[in-house]
């Protein structure tokens, strides 16, 4: 039975979303404001966006962010996929323990991951003589991405027919061929989701980057640095771009997942019906 929601319930929902999204909406609106005012609307302009793309510091930060995100996502996806396959083929007890360990970085506060990686890099840097920079930033991003890739590949592996790998071998595949020609294509949706997720997390990250990037600057670090001086509406513009990018990526990930769930639900239903 569906009860009609009362006025107070609707108001509550409205207030909830209002306080969640009002700041972002204000930010987006004022990224198009023609003066620097953050309280008075004076007219529509793209100036801040134009300025943004003439600001070399922002462009170089954008370049760093994209480079580190792409590299980290690709490397983490490869490593995470192999890790998931390895974990999947382990005995139940060690697998469950390792999966729990895998979940710790996911629920851990970013600041702890960031500080601990920073401490580790500084410690190792003293021994092996390197400094914080793009390399450490990349390693940090790969590190925090891998658990998410494992989490998105694992369910796909669980859905596989348990004889699939053997079926491929039975039809003449070597171990490696069975893996590349059958297992990888079968779990590809999970791998792609993991890749998109890793990329999104990397673009989005500020805290961990802040502690591990050294003198290199990512986009979110640049925005933070800009807020320390006089606040320019350029920040609104760059934040809007970042927000929209992340939003689009999340929508893509969610739509893909929903489609896959629908497909597998349909398959299950068919199996039960016959």
């Amino acid at each position: 039975m569906k009860k009609k929601s009362t006025f107070s319930q609707r108001l509550l929902i409205f207030l909830l979303f209002f306080f969640l999204y009002a700041p972002i909406i204000v930010l987006i609106i004022f990224s198009f404001n023609s003066t620097k005012s953050r309280s008075v609307w004076t007219g529509f302009t793209f100036d801040w966006y134009v300025k943004l793309f003439n600001n070399s510091a922002i462009l170089s930060a954008l370049y760093t962010t994209l480079l580190v995100s792409v590299l980290a996502a690709v490397i983490a996806t490869i490593a995470g996929t192999f890790a998931a396959v390895g974990l999947f083929n382990m005995k139940k007890r060690p697998r469950d323990i390792l999966l729990q360990i895998n979940n710790i970085p996911v629920i851990n506060a970013d600041i702890i991951t960031g500080v601990s990686l920073c401490v580790l890099f500084v410690f190792l840097g003293k021994i092996f003589n390197f400094k914080l920079g793009f390399g450490t930033l990349l390693i940090a991003h790969i590190t925090f991405n891998i658990p998410y890739v494992i989490l998105s590949v694992m369910p796909k592996l669980r859905q596989l027919d348990k004889n699939l790998f053997e079926a491929a071998q039975d039809l003449g595949c070597t171990w490696m061929q069975a893996f590349t020609k059958v297992i990888i294509p079968e779990i590809r949706p999970g791998i792609v989701n993991g890749l998109l997720m890793a990329f999104t997390l990397s673009v989005d990250d500020f805290v961990i980057s802040y502690f591990t990037a050294g003198s290199v600057e990512t986009l979110s670090m640049r925005i933070y640095a800009m807020t320390k001086k006089r606040i320019s509406p350029e920040i609104n513009a760059i934040s809007t771009i970042l927000f929209v990018t992340i939003l689009l990526l999340l929508i893509i990930i969610n739509v893909r997942q929903a489609q896959q769930e629908k497909a597998s639900a349909r398959k299950r239903a068919e199996f039960e019906n016959r």
Partner: protein, 345 residues
């Protein structure tokens, strides 16, 4: 070519001390339909997986065509397998699934096209090439799995309970179809099932297994009519099994009476299992009967009634078209060849 295409010699298999197969000796002739039959956990699937190369025996030798193949990996064995849940590749369509093995073997696409088309005809799904695997019914997926294995022209096809997931009617249909496919392509089938009826209708040879041991090997008729022990008798068809004493050759006593039988070679007064098939009883007037009992229950089973008849020492299961009422006194009669005597195992 040797007479024995596949030969298993003294095969043992244990998983960390748990014995799964205990001294399996078994051979399969060329073009034969052999069924490994037994309850779940009897080791029949493990035996099949040893032939396929997915398990290695802890001890013993596997010969194929006279050559030892213990260490040959699955992809180098001239056998193909149809798995229980089909294990089709869902990211490919029907055509690509069937063509998979040939492509791995680097057969030219022209030849592949011919062979896949022929296979689709053989399994009665000629127009299914472009279909997605996930859109097919269980029976259709089953056929694709068979085609995907057979297209590689294996010397032997291994089938692991291939009809287990299908409903009864479809299963009957597929049994006939599988048998006819086997006769058309003329290759050896090794078939694993726990369904005794399936085994009886399809096989040339049945291997009955229980608890990792072979109980009996024989033709369906042999296994049904001359079960070697009480387990086989009970597993294949229905049976009345009770204790008896073998007084001398061809004379057994049970239920306090002596009966003539056809068995000999037992020790004097050896305690034995006596097995009588429910359909072998004749219901006769009480004055002509060897056993007299009271009808405890009767169930209509379609072609016959299942009548439970209680005598002083034993309750007999009798299949007969005779319509008895509960509480009736009826007489039972057995001829010597209805009585099967087995050593206690």
């Amino acid at each position: 070519m040797s007479e024995k295409l596949i030969n298993l010699e003294n095969i043992h298999k244990d998983y960390g001390g748990k014995v799964v197969l205990d001294n399996i000796n078994l051979y399969v002739r060329d073009k034969e339909f052999v069924t490994l039959l037994g309850p779940s956990g009897c080791g029949k699937t493990t035996t099949l997986r040893i032939i396929g190369g997915f398990e290695t025996p802890s001890a013993g030798v596997v010969y194929f065509d006279g050559k030892k193949i213990n260490d040959l990996p699955p992809h180098k064995r001239p056998v193909n397998t149809v798995f229980q849940r089909y294990a089709l590749f869902t990211h490919m369509n029907v055509y690509d699934n069937i063509a998979f093995g040939l492509r791995i073997a680097k057969v030219s696409e022209n030849v592949i096209k011919d062979r896949v088309t022929n296979m689709l005809k053989l399994i009665n799904l000629p127009d299914y090439a472009k279909r997605e695997v996930s859109s097919l019914s269980g029976g259709e997926q089953q056929r694709i799995a068979i085609a995907r294995a057979l297209v590689n022209h294996p010397r032997v096809l291994l089938l692991d309970e291939p009809l287990g997931a299908l409903d009864l009617k479809l299963r009957k249909e597929m049994q006939r179809e599988l048998k006819s496919i086997q006769q058309q392509v003329g290759i050896t089938f090794v078939y694993v099932t726990h369904d005794q009826e399936e085994a009886l209708t399809m096989s040339d040879t049945i291997v009955v297994m229980n608890k990792g041991k072979i109980q009996q090997i024989g033709t369906p008729v042999d296994i049904y009519n001359e079960p070697k022990n009480a387990f086989v008798a009970d597993f294949i068809g229905e049976s009345n099994i009770l204790d008896g004493v073998m007084h001398k050759d061809r004379l057994v006593s049970f239920c306090g009476k002596n009966f003539d039988c056809l068995d000999s070679g037992f020790e004097k007064d050896e305690t034995v299992d006596v097995v009588v098939r429910p359909e072998d009883f004749e219901i006769v007037p009480i004055e002509d009967a060897q056993l007299v009992g009271t009808v405890k229950s009767t169930i209509f089973m379609g072609v016959h009634n299942e009548i439970m008849v209680e005598t002083e020492d034993f309750t007999w299961k009798v299949h007969s078209i005779y319509n008895a009422e509960v509480g009736d006194k009826i007489g039972l009669f057995l001829t010597p060849d209805d009585i099967h005597i087995m050593h206690k195992s």
